[in-house]
C-alpha cells in the first residue's frame, strides 16, 4: 500500500477503534443496536429499521475460546467459542449493549453459539439457515426467517421498514461492496497495490461505521491505490488465502505470509468478508432479493450440502484470474467440515501443481506456537520464490 493510502487506512482504523464509543452515544440517544453473526443476516434490514448493525466476529486471542469451556465442548471451533468468550471475560465492549443479537443458525458451531447467547440471557433471535439450499422448501424457510426478522426489527425500533428505506439501505451497502470490488480488481495487477492483510482489514472496517461514511472512506482509499500503486515487489509470490474466515483481530497469519515476502493477492473465505460479486437488486420484492442474493447466488459456504465441487471450480477461477502461485488454507482447529474440504482441495491443488499449505489455528500464538508456524510459512514462501 502506498504512503497516502496508508494514512487513510490509519485514520479509518482509528475510527473503527472508536466505533464502540460511538455506538454507546447513539444508544443513549435512543438508537437500537443489533449484533449479528455470520454471513446470512442482511445488514440492510437492520439499517433500514434505523438501528445500528454490529458484526460479532472477533478472534485471534487464546483466552476467549477457553472462557466458555465449562459450558461448551472442547472440540468446537475456537471462533464460535470466542464470540461468547469475549463477553464472559468482560472484554467485549459492544455485546452487553446490544438490544438484539441476530444469530444465524447454519452449522452446529454457530447454532450452539446462539444457544450460548440465549443461555447467558442476551436478547437473541435465531435465524435458521438450512444446509440443503438447493431445495425450494429450504429457500422458503430462510425467506420466512428474514420476514420474521423484519417484523422483529420493526417492533423493536418502532420504525416501519418501507420499500423506500430498504432500497436506500441496499443501495448503501451495494456501494460499499462495489468499492471493495473495485479495490479487489486492482489486485489482479502485478504487483497488487494492496495485499491481503490490508484488504481483509478494510473488509472488517467496512462493518464499523455509518454506511455512507464507510463507502466514502473506501472510495478515497480506492482512488489512492489506483493512482499510486502499492509497495509490493513484482517478484513477490502471489498467494490465495482460503478457508473458513479471518476474524477481526486475527491477523498473525496474514502478517507472517506477507512479511515472509509473499503477497496475498486474493481470498476465498466464507465469513468476515464482503462479497462484492453479488450485489442485491433494488427492484421488485426487496426481501426476496435479499434472500436470493444471500442464500442462493453467492458461492455456498463449505457447510452447505453439495457445495464442494462448485467451490473448487470457483477457486480454480480465482487462481487463474489473480495469477496465483500458491494456496494457503487457513483453518481453525476442530472445524470439521473445513478439515474434510481441505483434504479434497489439497488433492485438487496437487493435480493442478499448485503448491498448497494448510495452517491450523486455535488462536494460540504463544512463542512456542509461533516458531514452527513462522518456519512453515517462510519455507512455503521460499519454495514459491524458487518456482
Amino acid at each position: 500500500m502506498n504512503s497516502s493510502a496508508r494514512v487513510l487506512m490509519s485514520e479509518f482504523a482509528k475510527d473503527v477503534v472508536a466505533w464502540p464509543e460511538m455506538l454507546k452515544k447513539e444508544k443513549t440517544k435512543g438508537t437500537k443496536l443489533v449484533g449479528f453473526t455470520g454471513r446470512y443476516i442482511p445488514e440492510e434490514l437492520i439499517d433500514a429499521a434505523g438501528a445500528r448493525s454490529y458484526l460479532i466476529c472477533r478472534g485471534g486471542e487464546p483466552e476467549p475460546p477457553d472462557a466458555v469451556l465449562p459450558y461448551m465442548l472442547r472440540f468446537m471451533s475456537p471462533f464460535a467459542r470466542a464470540q461468547i468468550g469475549y463477553h464472559l471475560l468482560g472484554i467485549d465492549p459492544v455485546v452487553p449493549m446490544l438490544d438484539l443479537i441476530v444469530a444465524q443458525c447454519t452449522d452446529c458451531h454457530m447454532a450452539r453459539l446462539a444457544d450460548m447467547f440465549e443461555y447467558f440471557k442476551l436478547p437473541t433471535m435465531k435465524v435458521g439457515v438450512p444446509s440443503d439450499w438447493y431445495k425450494p422448501i429450504s429457500q422458503d424457510y430462510y425467506c420466512r426467517g428474514l420476514a420474521k426478522l423484519k417484523r422483529r426489527l420493526e417492533e423493536m425500533t418502532g420504525n416501519s421498514i418501507t420499500d423506500e428505506r430498504l432500497r436506500a439501505s441496499i443501495e448503501g451497502f451495494n456501494e460499499i461492496r462495489n468499492t471493495l470490488g473495485k479495490i479487489n480488481e486492482l489486485r489482479k495487477k502485478n504487483p497488487p497495490p494492496i495485499g491481503g492483510y490490508d484488504f481483509i482489514r478494510l473488509n472488517h472496517f467496512s462493518f464499523c461505521g455509518d454506511v455512507a461514511e464507510v463507502a466514502g472512506k473506501l472510495e478515497n482509499i480506492h482512488e489512492s491505490i489506483r493512482k499510486e500503486g502499492g509497495a509490493f515487489s513484482e517478484k513477490a509470490p502471489r498467494v490465495l488465502l482460503t478457508g473458513h474466515l479471518v476474524a477481526m483481530g486475527d491477523y498473525v497469519v496474514l502478517n507472517l505470509i506477507e512479511n515472509a515476502g509473499a503477497v496475498i493477492a486474493a481470498e476465498f473465505l466464507d465469513e468476515g468478508i464482503r462479497y462484492p460479486q453479488w450485489n442485491v437488486p433494488t427492484d421488485g420484492d426487496l426481501v426476496k432479493n435479499l434472500a436470493e442474493t444471500y442464500y442462493l447466488q453467492r458461492t455456498p459456504p463449505s457447510r452447505s450440502n453439495y457445495a464442494w465441487s462448485q467451490r473448487i471450480k470457483q477457486m480454480e477461477q480465482i487462481i487463474a484470474d489473480f495469477h496465483i502461485d500458491g494456496v494457503v488454507w487457513y483453518q481453525l482447529s476442530f472445524d470439521e467440515l473445513y478439515s474434510l474440504e481441505s483434504s479434497l482441495i489439497a488433492g485438487r491443488m496437487k493435480q493442478m501443481r499448485i503448491p498448497f499449505l494448510k495452517l491450523e489455528s486455535s488462536y494460540e500464538y504463544s512463542r512456542e506456537a509461533m516458531g514452527p508456524l513462522s518456519t512453515r510459512v517462510e519455507s512455503f514462501v521460499e519454495s514459491l520464490k524458487k518456482r
Binding site: 465449562p70 465442548l73 443458525c105 450452539r112 444457544d115 435458521g128
Partner: protein
C-alpha cells in the same frame, strides 16, 4: 485357537444347528472381508465377549448372533448390486420405520442398512477390531487431529476400501450433526462418484425450552422434508411404497417390538439390577437401525432373554448387590463394552439409555392422522433432536420416572451437536432435579484416545460420589 473357529463362533452366538451349513461359508467369507482373522474370532469368543457380555444367557448370545447375521449380509452388497437389488443406506438417528417400509414393500429386491453403525458395533463391541477402519479413513483424508466421528470415518473407509458398494441412494437424516451429510459428499467427491445422497435436514434454531412438537409450523416443515425425501428415495429405487407399508413397519416396531423392550427395561429397573445396561442397549437398537435380515431374530432373542431375566428377578439374583446406585446415560457407550463393565465393577449400574427410552409424551398418540405429520411430531418429541432446554425437560422427567441416582453425560466429544451441550446440560439437569450429573469426556464408538487406563480414575470417582450421595 479352536480347530474350526468360524463354526464354533456361530454356535457360540446362538445360530441353530440347521442354520450353520448355510451360514458357515458366508461367515468365513464375511469375516475375511471384515478383516477378522481366525485369531481375532478366537479372541472374541474366548476373551472379549465373555468378559463384557453375559453369555450365560442364551438370549444374549442369540442377540450377538443377530448382529453377526446382519454383518454377514452387509458384506454382500456388491453381490446384491450385481444381482440388480436396490439399496438404501442411512445413518443414526433416523426413523427406522421408513427404511423397514422400503424393505417390506419388496423384500427380495431391496436392501436397507445403516452400514457404519452395524460395522462399529460388530467390530468394536464384539471383536475390538475397529481401529484399522479408523486408521484407513484418517490416512485417506478424514484427519485424526480434527476429532471426526468414528461412524463417519467407518462409512467412508468401508466404501473406499470396497467393503461395501455404493447404494442406489443414501438417505441421510442430517438432523443432528453437519458432518454426516458432508461425509457422504466427501465419499462422493473423493472416491465414489456413484454414491448418491439425499439429505433431510432442519436448522437448530428454536429458542431454548420450546416444545418443538407443539410448534405446528415446525412440524409441517419437517413433515414436508420427510415426505419429499421419502418420495425421492422411491424414485431412485423405482419402487412405490404404499402408505400401509409405513403403517405395517411402524406397527412391527412400536406395537410388536417396543412393548417387549419396555418389558425388559422394567425388569432391568428392578433391584437388584438383573442385567447389565450393555446388553439392554443392543436390544434397543433395532428400533433405531433397520436390520435387512429382519427384526425376527432379534425379537426371538429378546423373548428368550425376557424369560431368563424374569427367572433372575424371581430368584432375587442381580449383577450388582441390592441397593446399588443406578445411573442414566444419554447413550450407553455400548461399542466400548468395558465402560459399562467398569462402572459395574465399581458397584454402580448404568441400565438406562436415556436416548432410547420413550418419554411420557412419546407414548401418547399423535395429534395428526397424516403419517408424515405424525412422524415429524414424534421426531420433535425425541430428546436427541430438540433444543437443549426441551431436552433438559425430557431428561428430568425420565430421571423422576425411573428414580435414577445420577445422570451420566459425555462420551460424545466428537459430535459438534449431540455432544456440544452436555456440559451445559449437566448444569441444567443438576439445578433442576438435584440429582448429580457427571460429564465425562469420551467417545461412545471407539477407545483409542480414552482407554480403560485413562478413564478408570474418573469412573471410580463418579462411582464413589454417587454411592456416597445415596448412602
Amino acid at each position: 485357537m479352536a480347530a474350526d473357529v468360524h463354526r464354533e463362533f456361530l454356535e457360540f452366538t446362538g445360530f441353530e444347528k440347521n442354520e450353520i451349513p448355510e451360514y458357515l461359508p458366508l461367515w468365513r467369507k464375511a469375516s475375511e472381508k471384515l478383516g477378522l482373522s481366525g485369531a481375532d474370532i478366537s479372541f472374541a469368543m474366548e476373551q472379549w465377549i465373555p468378559r463384557h457380555f453375559d453369555v450365560k444367557l442364551k438370549g444374549v448370545r442369540k442377540m450377538i448372533g443377530a448382529w453377526i447375521r446382519e454383518a454377514i449380509d452387509l458384506t454382500r452388497t456388491h453381490e446384491y448390486k450385481e444381482q440388480g437389488m436396490k439399496s438404501v443406506y442411512g445413518i443414526l438417528p433416523a426413523h427406522a420405520t421408513f427404511y423397514y417400509a422400503f424393505k417390506m414393500a419388496d423384500p427380495d429386491n431391496v436392501f436397507v442398512s445403516f452400514p457404519d453403525i452395524h460395522l462399529v458395533y460388530v467390530l468394536n463391541a464384539f471383536f475390538h477390531r475397529l481401529n484399522p477402519y479408523l486408521d484407513g479413513a484418517e490416512k485417506a483424508g478424514m484427519l485424526y487431529g480434527c476429532r471426526h466421528c468414528a461412524l463417519n470415518k467407518t462409512r467412508f473407509w468401508s466404501r473406499r476400501s470396497e467393503l461395501i458398494a455404493s447404494p442406489s441412494v443414501s438417505w441421510l437424516w442430517s438432523f443432528v450433526c453437519d458432518e454426516a451429510a458432508k461425509t457422504d459428499e466427501f465419499i462422493h467427491d473423493s472416491c465414489a462418484p456413484d454414491w448418491k445422497t439425499l439429505v433431510t435436514t432442519m436448522p437448530h434454531d428454536q429458542p431454548l425450552g420450546t416444545r418443538e412438537d407443539e410448534v405446528d409450523e415446525r412440524v409441517e416443515y419437517l413433515a414436508a422434508q420427510m415426505k419429499d425425501s421419502f418420495e425421492s428415495v422411491q424414485q431412485h429405487i423405482g419402487l412405490k411404497v404404499p402408505e400401509e407399508k409405513i403403517k405395517a413397519a411402524s406397527d412391527m416396531l412400536w406395537l410388536g417390538y417396543a412393548p417387549k423392550l419396555e418389558e425388559l427395561l422394567q425388569l432391568v429397573a428392578r433391584d437388584p439390577q438383573p442385567l447389565s445396561g450393555e446388553e439392554v442397549y443392543f436390544f434397543a437398537e433395532p428400533l433405531q437401525i433397520p436390520f435387512n435380515t429382519g427384526i425376527e431374530t432379534m425379537e426371538k432373542a429378546l423373548d428368550i432373554l425376557i424369560g431368563e431375566v424374569k427367572e433372575r428377578v424371581a430368584k432375587g439374583e442381580g449383577i450388582l448387590p441390592k441397593g446399588a446406585p443406578k445411573l442414566m446415560s444419554i447413550l450407553t457407550p455400548a461399542a466400548n463394552p468395558w465402560i459399562v463393565k467398569m462402572f459395574e465393577e465399581c458397584g454402580v449400574g448404568v441400565p438406562f439409555p436415556e436416548g432410547l427410552m420413550p418419554s411420557k409424551k412419546e407414548l401418547q398418540p399423535s395429534r395428526f392422522e397424516d403419517p408424515y405429520m405424525a412422524a415429524a411430531e414424534s421426531w420433535l418429541k425425541y430428546s436427541m433432536t430438540v433444543n437443549v432446554g426441551y431436552k433438559c425437560e425430557i431428561i428430568c422427567e425420565k430421571i423422576e420416572t425411573y428414580g435414577v441416582d445420577g445422570m451420566l453425560l459425555g462420551f460424545l466429544d466428537f459430535d459438534r451437536w449431540l455432544g456440544s451441550d452436555h456440559r451445559l446440560l449437566s448444569k441444567m439437569v443438576e439445578e433442576k432435579t438435584g440429582v448429580p450429573a457427571f460429564y465425562i469426556e469420551g467417545d461412545i464408538w471407539e477407545d483409542r484416545d480414552y482407554s480403560p487406563e485413562a478413564l478408570r480414575t474418573r469412573i471410580e470417582t463418579v462411582a464413589s460420589v454417587v454411592k456416597m450421595r445415596k448412602s
